[in-house]
Symmetry: C2
Subunit: 260 residues, 2 copies
């Protein structure tokens, strides 16, 4: 099986045009195929403020009402996705931007919650692995934004980390999938205030031990849970690292997570 890298880049890189350009220039030269998944950064909040609209949050989670969804689609699937694709093209990488509606590649259902109405937020139910394989087999790099659809004409806002994990799991039977989460820190830290305390290798066992010892920062728990779950579905390795780590792909960087 061919190697495939699924690379998720988050808010901090997206918000910094120079760093984003630097990253895209670097990964455009990757010898092995990859899929890029990008978060949205702070653009939607900036637009909501510009239009005097409210940023709705409940328990630290965004509520996607109608105007927020429209701005998310305009920013994530529109300006941001096309900026990334045209930059990759500039650096000689034949990229193709995708929302979940394009080629029906990511289908989701509107989230139902007993007490909170999250609005137009979608939970992934199906990845169309054939759409991704077709592009990869033609040396085209899929670039996914965090917009999905429900198959009934409704677009939905979906977490980019989840999209990266779900794509990785769905493609694991066909490729040696390595999943990379780019974030602000150099990796998972033993001491959140000490950048030199990176955990170089984490297994399911050592993760559960750190969890029991209360050594995992609250903010990292859902991310790491996601990673372990991806590994259990056949993904080979997961890495959590910063931009410099992503620039070194396929060389291991930050925290490498494997099942055993």
């Amino acid at each position: 099986m061919k190697n495939l890298h699924v690379i998720k880049v988050g808010g901090a890189v997206i918000n910094d045009p120079l760093q984003l350009d630097h990253l895209l220039k670097g990964i455009s030269r990757l010898a092995e195929p990859f899929i890029l998944v990008h978060g949205g950064g702070r653009k939607v909040n900036e637009w909501l403020r510009k239009l005097d609209l409210q940023v709705n949050m409940v328990d630290g989670r965004r509520i996607t009402d109608g105007p927020t969804l429209e701005l998310a689609v305009m920013n994530y699937a529109g300006s941001l996705n096309k900026q990334i694709v045209s930059t990759l093209q500039r650096y000689g990488n034949n990229a193709c931007g995708l929302s979940g509606a394009d080629m029906d590649c990511i289908r989701a259902v509107k989230r139902v919650h007993p007490t909170i109405d999250f609005g137009y937020v979608g939970d992934v139910v199906h990845i169309n692995h054939k759409s991704f394989s077709m592009l990869i087999d033609h040396d085209i790099t899929p670039v996914c934004c965090a917009i999905t659809h429900d198959g009934k004409g409704q677009l939905l806002n979906t977490n980019a980390d989840t999209i990266a994990s779900e794509i990785s799991r769905a493609l694991a039977p066909f490729y040696n999938v390595n999943l990379w989460f780019g974030f602000e820190k150099v990796g998972v830290l033993e001491d959140v205030n000490d950048e030199s305390s990176v955990v170089k290798h984490l297994t399911k066992g050592s993760y559960l031990k750190m969890l029991a010892d209360e050594k995992i920062h609250d903010g990292m728990k859902p991310k790491l849970h996601n990673c372990i779950s991806a590994l259990e579905s056949g993904v080979r390795t997961v890495h959590i690292c910063n931009v410099e780590g992503l620039l070194g792909i396929p060389k291991s960087a930050g925290t490498k997570i494997t099942l055993k």
Copy 2:
């Protein structure tokens, strides 16, 4: 060779959600493959007004400055393109939205004019026919917005009629291409005030005669010039018709234009 329809839908349909849905539902059932090219409608002007920005026009043509380009990308490649794609998906048609940057499918150069600076307006220089063929061969419907790129990382605003013509010409060696321009009138009219005066069939010869007799409305001249030029490059037929005409594809409707 397979038949292929290139269908351009313009502003009036785009501005009317019910009519757009009706059209997409209808063409989603087309038995033969098609490429949809859509204009932008009035959304960008609405957004410019909402943001207290100027709509810049010189000689009736839009000047695309930086903020206008950003809004064009957000609206055309973002909200509008994804709404069309998700609606086609709803009706069972496996659509894929594209800007010119995606799969490098439409490359353009920034327009240089001796006296007017049009800003970020692009003239098409290359259509990547392989990208379109790959999708069509996989029963995927390309849905193109009027945003192109220059291959150096710059997105550009391009006329949707031109995009439809250029795609048709580039695919003519590989398919029997029929180009359809949807617009407000039932077809080319002998008398612009009389909807029953449709010219059912126009050839290059009869077009030149009408032109010499000053029977062609000024607004129709560039459109018809475009049509004749497409036919000279190997496109089989061009039709100019309204939404009802598009809903009848492949049945001839409105004004059918052929070389002879």
